[in-house]
């Protein structure tokens, strides 16, 4: 056993200092880019808009509201569906939704409503905003 001591001590001397130098670190994903959903051209519900709406809007805007939805999220439309949900709740094609997108709610507050998505939610990248505005302007095809 004693013959092993020098080996252990040399190993410790070589390995412990660099190990301890990097001993504290937490990767929170805070510096990672947001997931981006590709949308076809022209944007349509079935070529990317649905995936985009479900990932970045419908997480909160659903009926009944999800556990992550703010308690004040409106229960008059469900953005996980194009026309209406199976229970009959209007979907993303609802005129109010299209009008709000057209009025620029993806870029800033509109009619007292905050910019969407809310600041803590997965942000839209410029190409996604353009795609949703083009889709809304075309009546939500």
């Amino acid at each position: 056993m004693r013959r092993g001591y020098p080996t252990l001590l040399v190993l410790l001397a070589l390995l412990l200092p660099p190990a301890l130098a990097g001993c504290l670190d937490a990767e929170s994903l805070g510096d990672q880019p947001p997931t981006v959903v590709p949308v076809g051209s022209p944007p349509q519900w079935n070529n990317g808009v649905m995936e985009l709406m479900q990932l970045k809007c419908g997480v909160c805007h659903r009926v009944p509201r999800s556990e992550v939805s703010p308690v004040y999220v409106p229960q008059t439309f469900d953005l996980n569906y194009q026309v209406s949900s199976p229970s009959g709740v209007p979907g993303a094609q609802d005129p109010l939704v299209l009008a709000r997108i057209g009025a620029g709610i993806l870029r800033g507050p509109v009619a007292g409503k905050p910019r969407m998505p809310l600041d803590y939610a997965t942000p839209l990248v410029p190409a996604e905003i353009t795609a949703l505005e083009t889709w809304a302007a075309a009546g939500g095809p």
Partner: protein, 249 residues
């Protein structure tokens, strides 16, 4: 016997170093994944890791330990918002263990909700281990459970958001006494259930996650006292240390 032991410890130390040095791939994320990671970081920092060499005592003894766990810095960005999370730079933990001469280890830890720098952590936990000496090699198989809640501003400055967590798991570690020094290493597997209540908007975000961890540590005995430094590596996203001072009687 010495060569296999030295080789085994060398492999463990190199493995720990590789885990620490491994580059992390960039990945696109959603805000739910970012919140989940923050919940996990909090739950794993409060996890009940061994914090002690697995040596079998010659006689039964009690062990009172004060641990200090430094908090690593991290980016608190969630979606497009920098969350106001600013935990204390370190937090203490008291542990009480009984170690029997035949290798049984029983331990408990608990803390009331004492607010420090706008944050408080209340928890209770227990551990049960079985130690055995295989010649010069000491080993312990240990199971643990800990549950509690953190309160403080997580999503909005001045708010009292609540993160509840419940962790349970098991680990195996082995070590060798080298005079007053003891070197040890090990690995474990656990699972955590977390639940975050956001005061400002009433959202409640829950999750269940399993995790693996590896650890390497060194203990130094001096009279009735033992001092321990333990490096923990959890999955590929958390590295933290535990500093412990134990009084035995």
């Amino acid at each position: 016997m010495a060569r296999p032991l030295a080789r085994g410890l060398a492999v463990l130390l190199v493995a720990t170093l590789l885990l620490i040095a491994a580059p992390r791939p960039s990945q696109a994320v959603t805000f739910l994944e970012q919140i989940e990671r923050l919940r996990l970081l909090a739950a794993l920092l409060l996890d009940l890791r061994p914090g002690q060499a697995p040596l079998v005592p010659k006689t039964g003894q009690f062990d009172a330990t004060l641990e200090v766990i430094p908090t690593p810095g991290f980016n608190t960005q969630v979606g497009g918002k920098q969350e106001p999370i600013d935990p204390p730079p370190a937090f203490p933990r008291l542990r009480l263990r009984y170690l029997s001469a035949d290798g049984l280890m029983l331990g408990v830890t608990a803390s009331p909700a004492i607010e420090v720098l706008h944050y408080s952590a209340a928890y209770a936990g227990g551990e049960l281990g079985l130690r055995h000496a295989f010649g010069p090699l000491h080993a312990e198989l240990r199971g643990f459970a800990i549950a509690g809640q953190l309160r403080g501003p997580f999503a909005q400055a001045g708010a009292r958001d609540t993160l509840r967590f419940a962790n349970r798991g098991a680990d195996l570690r082995a070590g060798v006494p080298l005079g007053a020094l003891a070197l040890y290493g090990g690995a474990g597997r656990g699972s955590t259930t977390t639940e975050l209540d956001v005061q400002a908007d009433g959202a409640r975000i829950k999750g269940d996650n399993a995790y693996s961890y590896w650890l390497a540590g060194a203990g130094w005995a001096s009279g009735d006292w033992q001092f321990t430094l333990e490096q923990n590596v959890s999955e590929n996203f958390l590295r933290h240390v535990i500093l412990a001072a134990s009084l035995r009687w």
